[in-house]
């Protein structure tokens, strides 16, 4: 039996996909549907790992998928926090600006307190504690949902049991 492929590279791909989806304004709207982007990243990590496997290797196990999903989640949390900080540094609070533009285009009048809150949000600066808090929350959510994505991957890619063919 050949040794199994390294888990890091498929998890890195999955993690970077999650980070890209979560941190890029506009694209992160995918996550509003029950973290679909994060689930997808965990699922894709298992898919990439499964692609690297050959018939001479031990079959894929649920343990592999849990580890791949969790690792992709950790990578995603760190990379996602860094990317969103960079986006905020370069472009400012672009997500709230986009939302405001849509609201203005649709001629929706916001209550004064909501308007004030949005303006406060647009003036928000990056703080160290804000970054640590964001990283902490990202770690919890990304690990949970990416592991679930990995488990969905296991349900889809697990080796199918081979039943003996009946004669005749």
């Amino acid at each position: 039996m050949q040794p199994k492929p390294d888990r890091f590279i498929p998890a890195l791909y999955g993690g970077l996909i999650i980070a890209g989806i979560s941190a890029i304004p506009g694209l992160n709207l995918i996550n509003v549907c029950c973290c679909a982007g994060i689930l997808l990243g965990g699922f894709l990590a298992v898919f990439f790992y499964n692609q690297e496997m050959t018939a001479e290797m031990d079959p894929l196990t649920s343990n592999d998928c849990v580890r791949l999903g969790a690792l992709a989640g950790v990578i995603a949390a760190v990379a996602g926090t860094v990317i969103s900080m960079l986006v905020m540094l370069v472009f400012g609070n672009i997500a709230i600006e986009m939302m405001m533009r849509i609201i203005h285009r649709m001629n929706i009048e916001l209550p004064p307190n909501i308007d004030e809150m949005i303006n406060q949000g647009m003036e928000e600066k990056i703080s160290f504690f804000g970054m640590v808090f964001s990283l902490f929350l990202n770690l919890i959510i990304d690990i949970i949902f990416s592991t679930l994505g990995g488990l969905i991957g296991w349900s889809v890619f697990k080796p199918k049991p081979q039943y003996p063919q009946q004669p005749g």
Partner: protein
Amino acid sequence: MTPRRLLLAAAFLWCASIVAAPVLASWGEAWSSAASVLYVMFSRVCHQMDTRSFHIAGFKFGVCIRCTAIYFSFFLGMILFPRIAKTKVSIIDSSLVLVLSLIPMGIDVTLATLGLHESTVFTRMATGIIFGSGLSVILVPTLQEVTGGFLSLVRSRAQKVNLRNLKSEINLRNLSNHRTIIDHTQRTSYAAKTR
């Protein structure tokens, strides 16, 4: 604790937190910070739009209607799983279940985004329930298997630690017994010499 109970407890905690957010918020200033922690946590998984959420005492749930339907139907699927496992549903291919459960939600979201149809409370709930139920059929057996493996690993580690502690306790006891014997022999030989 069995894997099933652990999973049910975790899923119950998640679903209870969704409802706890508006309940805590309605209890006044003292509880509002606890409610806001829950709202911030759930903001990572849902848009939390006021118009698309259920409300309790004027405060919205932690997540929107569709997400609430997904999580609660997943929890219900987890409770009913032993019965579902006995039916033919359990032998359907997982990828087929995943695709079939995703299609209604995909259609609802896509058509609403394109402005061809207006997504209503009913369509959001129905599509959420279908997806959550599908996910429970796919995920519950796998989750039980993985949690079972994790629990047995924890138990075997705990047994090893207990065994090590027991060994060291026995060693210590042996050592102290040995010392008492030595002390006793030293004392008797000293007494004999002085006599």
